[in-house]
């Protein structure tokens, strides 16, 4: 059993937290929009992961052991953490480069 995987994911959240706190990216501050984004991502990527494990594309070693179906809980955490960090990065770019339009500005 290894804590490396959860530790790496926790590291991602800690490393990106200053973006929300000091650069005011307002990602965690918009929980409904964040949740609405995460739902389709989880649906697509948990399906892909389950298929890949079933097809034998990859397998996991030394994880905590808890699984949802055949998908380790670490993978569920991965598909939550990586999207959140990606959105924080995009919003940080927006804060630093307000002239670069993203497509969700007021019409």
């Amino acid at each position: 059993m290894s804590w490396i995987y959860p530790a790496v994911l926790a590291g991602c959240l800690v490393a990106t937290l200053p973006l929300e706190l000091f650069l005011r990216t307002r990602v965690y501050a918009r929980p409904r929009r964040l949740l609405a984004t995460l739902v389709p991502i989880l649906a697509v990527f948990l399906t892909w992961d389950a298929f890949a494990i079933h097809a034998g594309h990859w397998r996991y070693r030394h994880l905590l052991g808890a699984r949802i179906g055949n998908v380790p809980v670490e993978e569920l955490a991965f598909f939550l953490v990586v999207p959140v960090c990606s959105i924080l990065t995009l919003e940080a770019v927006r804060r630093r480069r307000p002239g670069w339009r993203i497509g969700d500005e007021e019409p």
């Binding site: 490396i4 490393a15 984004t37 397998r59 598909f79 990606s86 995009l90 480069r97 969700d104």
Partner: protein, 129 residues
């Protein structure tokens, strides 16, 4: 189906989502590519740890074999698909909220004029009142 094929399909799925389904067009926006460049650096580091420590092991017959920092090249397509789909949904929900707010702040000309003059089909009821 190999991981190579699945990764290619995953990439195509994300491009279709961004360009044709949600029409967020992130692939043509500077902000997206700047964000992706930053994310890619962290992705290589995180993936390098997970595959380098052999927490995730890939089937040798399902990948091309080329590796970037321990991880199969297919992971680059997987990661790109995850990031593009995520940001496309985020921007799509944001655009929806922005349009809704704008239509409340200043209604469309048709809606505004309809509100000013009574509906012609509604004259009978308005006369009785």
């Amino acid at each position: 189906m190999t991981y190579t094929v699945a990764a290619g399909l995953g990439l195509l799925f994300a491009v279709i989502l961004d360009q044709l389904v949600l029409r967020t067009n992130l692939l043509r926006r500077k902000a997206f590519w700047a964000a992706y460049a930053i994310i890619l650096g962290f992705q290589l580091a995180v993936n390098g740890v997970l595959t380098g420590q052999r927490l995730v092991v890939y089937s040798g017959t399902d990948i091309l074999g080329a590796r970037v920092l321990y991880a199969p090249v297919e992971d680059l397509a997987f990661g790109f698909s995850l990031v593009l789909q995520t940001l496309a949904w985020w921007v799509w929900w944001g655009r929806r909220d922005a349009r809704r707010r704008a239509s409340i702040a200043r209604p469309s000309p048709e809606a505004a004029s309809a509100a000013r003059r009574p509906d012609p089909t509604d004259t009978r009821r308005s006369r009785t009142r």
